[in-house]
């Protein structure tokens, strides 16, 4: 491995990193705190562009509304060129958030609202993206090729609605091309002014790259990276789409061609890749099997990791772990994870993901192509519409509804058996509402927010002349996640253990303490009794059994929503994204000793502090065991103890990762945080502006998080 001081482009990379840090500080200054991904987005010019309404409520909807706005924004969009960068362009606008209303009021879902409120469902109606484009198609066709494809199919699909559909997509592509042209002008302008001959040369080449890919498919590594960046920036701008792809195999042919032509060396490749990665922390997968099961790792897989190390900022790279993987890539990934302690890379488990997805009726070839390209999610690039990570059922809230119903019903005894039956009934109702929400979304989303940009790189929408949300996609593999698993499992276990088995207190006594949030006489003592009951994650306890019961129930309920006639396949997962705080705010005190309005448990993770020490193995075993098992994830959020997170223990950490996946695990997100540093940063975020934490599937600058969310991260680390 080359040392930093011999890397020819280190000076440029250093300048780009400094600039990114300043851009983050600027974002905090002008836009405030945000509990989200860093995204690589920068602050747009003030009052530079405003959306154009096409509805009386002031928002914009439908194909025409979105196309008009997107094209207008592209036309007026500022250019972004940095002479130190290999690529032009940065993401500035959250177009989908620049409207007063997310859902077209002409398609109301009032009939679903009572249950959405009752069970605190994040219904996903009107949410966008969260499936993956097929970058391979874009790189093959280029912008002109995509235009040609549209022109081919508009001759076949000739209805009025389809004519509008095709016209909108052509307008979108042309506006992107105009945007690129504007950048070319800026590059030329900066090139003329540039006094440093090396940077002037870089700008000249940047202009040439952009000129070539303005119409034609990319031919070189630099062109391929720049093409992906443009598509991605357009898609980000349109609706925050952050899906990536199998980046090593996407770029490999271009890199090898450059090598064969003698136009690239190792340093230059790393420089391009570093600039590519700093542009946006997109979810890229490295390694893993191809559709025939052969490992896809190549030289560029390693170069991508090395480039990531050079920039070492917020990154969302996932290494796919499988039986025949390239061990060196795996080891290199762990090396960088431990070296930088910056929460990258992540690891995904091929076996459970592929086996699970095949249980839905897909063959192994297809299942292997469903790769890690999103926060917690897998997707078949260009082939499926999924609503991944958009729909969540707050199971802790469902539990509370069931519990309150039982306690207020004098006709039946208070027992965990009775409570379970009520929980089953209400969870069924909640899942049904969530699925109905998805069905409503699928029916009307094209009138609300068509996927103008993602349609371009999907297999089907252009061919059929239909939006990807409107039967345009090949597959509808629809995701519903359960949230708060550990709160519910631990609550059932605490009730069983303390009230039924040990008879330490009565249902009525506990209800008194829950109603008073454990704040009345003896409240804290009872809270600790309940909190110190058996807990999910300890292994082979009643709480672990409850967790499995809940998993089975939730999985069955979600899968039962599938409808072969409609080609709707519903897939269960356990994930709560950054919603643990918000979902917790609607839930009162719970029998597991959790106080009212505090965050619910995260994804499939046990509640913090579930074992006294050595949580890593217990965590890895428990989460592997509780996977729904149909190809969507229940990620393991791993707060790795810094005393273990040393290079000398890399092999042991690798063993834990591999064993988790061998036992059924799907995805591992790792944080390695120094407790004292996090506590200091919590007090004064400006002290560590570059401290990065992996919140869930995504990473964020700690300094950008709201105090409440920073507290959540601190609690998680302290209690583990």
């Amino acid at each position: 491995m080359k040392s930093l001081d011999t890397f020819k482009y280190q000076n440029r990379i250093d300048k780009l990193k400094t600039k990114k840090l300043n851009q983050t500080l600027e974002k905090i200054k002008y836009e405030g705190l945000l509990d989200e991904d860093d995204y690589g987005r920068i602050v747009p010019p003030k009052n530079h562009w405003e959306s154009i309404s096409n509805h009386e409520d002031g928002s914009f909807y439908g194909l025409e509304g979105w196309t008009t706005n997107f094209c207008d924004l592209m036309r007026h969009h500022s250019t972004y060129v940095d002479p130190n960068d290999a690529f032009a362009g940065r993401w500035m606008y959250f177009m989908s958030r620049m409207r007063s209303n997310k859902w077209n009021p002409d398609y109301p879902y009032d009939h679903l609202q009572p249950n959405i409120d009752k069970y605190d469902i994040i219904c996903g109606i009107g949410d966008d993206a969260h499936f993956a484009p097929d970058y391979k198609m874009g790189l093959k066709l280029g912008w002109q090729g995509l235009l040609n494809k549209i022109e081919t199919y508009e001759k076949i699909n000739t209805s009025e609605e389809q004519a509008s559909f095709y016209d909108a997509h052509k307008r979108a592509i042309k506006s992107i091309q105009q945007w690129i042209s504007n950048h070319i002008e800026t590059i030329h302008y900066l090139q003329e002014k540039e006094t440093n001959p090396q940077l002037a040369k870089n700008l000249k080449e940047m202009a040439e790259v952009n000129q070539r890919i303005l119409h034609h498919p990319p031919q070189t590594l630099r062109e391929a990276c720049q093409w992906i960046i443009w598509y991605h920036l357009a898609s980000r701008t349109y609706n925050r789409d952050g899906a990536g792809g199998q980046i090593d195999t996407l770029l490999q042919p271009y890199y090898e061609k450059d090598l064969a032509n003698g136009t690239i060396d190792r340093d230059k490749a790393i420089y391009y890749l570093a600039c590519f990665l700093i542009n946006d922390p997109i979810y890229w997968q490295l390694g893993g099997p191809d559709k025939n099961g052969n490992d896809q790792t190549s030289d560029i897989s390693f170069l991508i990791l090395e480039a990531a190390d050079k920039i070492n900022t917020s990154l969302n790279i996932t290494i796919r772990v499988h039986d025949d993987m390239n061990e060196k890539l795996f080891e290199q990934g762990i090396y960088y994870l431990l070296k930088n302690k910056n929460a990258w890379p992540r690891f995904s488990g091929d076996k459970a993901l592929v086996d699970g997805f095949m249980k839905n009726g897909f063959d192994a070839e297809t299942a292997r192509q469903r790769i890690a390209v999103g926060c917690n999610w897998m997707s078949l690039p260009g082939m499926e519409y999924t609503m991944n990570d958009l729909v969540k059922v707050n199971m802790a809230k469902v539990f509370q509804v069931a519990y309150n119903e039982m306690l207020s019903d004098q006709s039946a005894p208070n027992t965990t058996k009775n409570l379970w039956e009520r929980f089953r009934k209400h969870l069924s109702s909640a899942v049904n509402t969530a699925a109905d929400g998805i069905r409503h979304h699928l029916k009307y989303q094209k009138f609300n927010e068509p996927e103008l940009i993602l349609n371009l790189l999907s297999h089907g929408p252009i061919e059929k002349g239909r939006d990807v949300s409107d039967s345009g996609a090949q597959y509808y593999n629809l995701s519903i996640d359960g949230a708060g698993l550990a709160v519910v499992a631990d609550s059932f276990a605490a009730l069983q253990q303390r009230i039924e088995d040990e008879q330490k207190l009565s249902w009525e006594a506990l209800d008194y303490h829950l109603s008073s949030n454990f704040e009345e006489q003896d409240g804290e003592r009872i809270r600790l009794l309940m909190r110190n009951s058996y807990r999910y994650g300890q292994g082979n306890t009643i709480a672990d059994k409850w967790a499995e019961e809940i998993r089975d129930l939730f999985s069955d309920l979600v899968r039962n929503q599938s409808d072969a006639a409609q080609q709707h396949l519903f897939i269960p997962g356990f994930f709560s994204w950054a919603n643990t705080v918000g979902l917790g705010q609607t839930v009162g005190a719970t029998p597991n000793g959790r106080k009212q309005h505090t965050p619910i448990s995260h994804g499939a993770n046990p509640n913090p502090g579930f074992v006294a020490d050595a949580a890593s193995l217990a965590l890895a075993t428990a989460i592997a065991k509780v996977q729904p098992g149909y190809g969507n994830t229940a990620p393991m959020q791993w707060e790795l103890d810094p005393s273990l997170a040393k290079q000398e223990h890399a092999a042991l950490i690798g063993s834990i990762i591999k064993t988790h996946f061998a036992q059924g695990g799907t995805l591992i997100n790792v944080n390695i945080l120094d407790k004292n540093k996090v506590l200091e940063a919590h007090q004064d975020p400006s002290k560590y502006p570059d401290l990065i934490v992996r919140i869930t599937g995504f990473t964020a600058y700690f300094s950008m998080l709201t105090p409440k969310f920073r507290q959540l991260v601190v609690d998680r680390i302290l209690e583990n």
Binding site: R525, G539, L617, L644, S655, A662
Partner: protein
């Protein structure tokens, strides 16, 4: 067949190769004054009071028949001299501020409790390690448990102070993959002063073990004021370098982290004010290690 243990430490990474579960056996015949596991001295269960966890609810005061707990100005106080270790208070202490240290467990239950971690042992070449305390004090239980793990093809290690009769070691050797032992002080009188026993039998047993060809580690804890000197360390290293089958020799820096355990158990910590050492502090012994190359 039941044994007495304090705890099972999962993901143990300092007690043999790979990921291990270390079983801390209760009871020890030495009283090393720097011991960081004072809860393993006695074979009997002990009461631990963690004042930081106490919420001063006063329930222990209500249930204690010995009046060992009192409450003054809203604060619970514990008088260990009055405690008869009936442990009635433990189940009433919901915050877990009062805990019983030490439990009996059958060989089968111990095996089953550790079994979920076997997959991690297999991928990391790890296994189980019996530590303590002194595992050899519970020979029958140890033997039975070792046999269970060996039948399951699990790597086994034992940390011993080498003070048991050699015949006992011979009994377990067929079921042990790795021995780990401390060699603390070479001078027998000094050894007796700091641990309560001389080291003659220890040295003899190490030599006997060496002849068996079984791999073993020798570790020397370096304790300020006890053996933290070139003369002491060199004499140990010299002894070790004459052995043939030492797989690893390590110097371990003293750490004072056990002080809180002594306090919670009401045991006087003889080295209460002794400062800890770091690996860097031990680098002064590198020339000696280099000269003798003891494993």
């Amino acid at each position: 067949m039941e044994g007495k243990i304090t705890t099972i430490q999962r993901l143990s990474i300092h007690d043999g190769p790979g990921i291990r579960s270390t079983i801390f056996m209760k009871g020890c015949n030495l009283r090393c004054q720097w011991c960081h596991n004072p809860e393993t001295f006695s074979m009997q269960p002990q009461l631990q009071w963690i004042s930081e966890k106490c919420i001063n609810c006063g329930k222990c005061v209500e249930v204690c028949n010995d009046s060992a707990f009192t409450i003054n100005n809203g604060l619970v106080q514990f008088n260990r001299d009055k405690c008869t270790t009936c442990f009635d208070c433990v189940e009433h202490c919901y915050p877990n501020a009062i805990q019983q240290i030490g439990r009996t467990i059958s060989a089968d239950d111990l095996f089953n409790e550790i079994a979920p971690d076997f997959p991690y042992f297999n991928t990391s070449n790890g296994g189980v390690t019996f530590s303590g305390g002194e595992p050899m004090l519970q020979l029958n239980f140890l033997l039975k448990t070792l046999q269970l793990f060996k039948q399951a093809n699990i790597h086994t290690a034992i940390e011993t102070n080498f003070t048991a009769d050699w015949s006992k070691y011979e009994a377990i050797i067929p079921y042990v993959d790795l021995f780990i032992g401390d060699l603390k002080i070479m001078d027998s009188k000094d050894h007796k002063r700091w641990t309560g026993l001389g080291n003659d039998i220890i040295l003899k047993n190490i030599k006997k073990l060496d002849k068996t060809g079984i791999p073993y580690y020798i570790r020397t804890p370096i304790i300020p004021g006890v053996n933290h000197s070139a003369i002491q360390v060199e004499s140990i290293i010299q002894f070790v370098s004459d052995l043939n089958n030492v797989e690893r020799f390590e110097l371990l820096p003293y750490h004072p982290l056990a002080d809180v355990k002594y306090r919670n158990l009401g045991i006087k910590n003889p080295l209460q004010n002794t400062k800890g050492l770091t690996n860097k502090d031990l680098e002064i012994y590198n020339p000696i290690l280099k000269q003798y190359n003891p494993g």
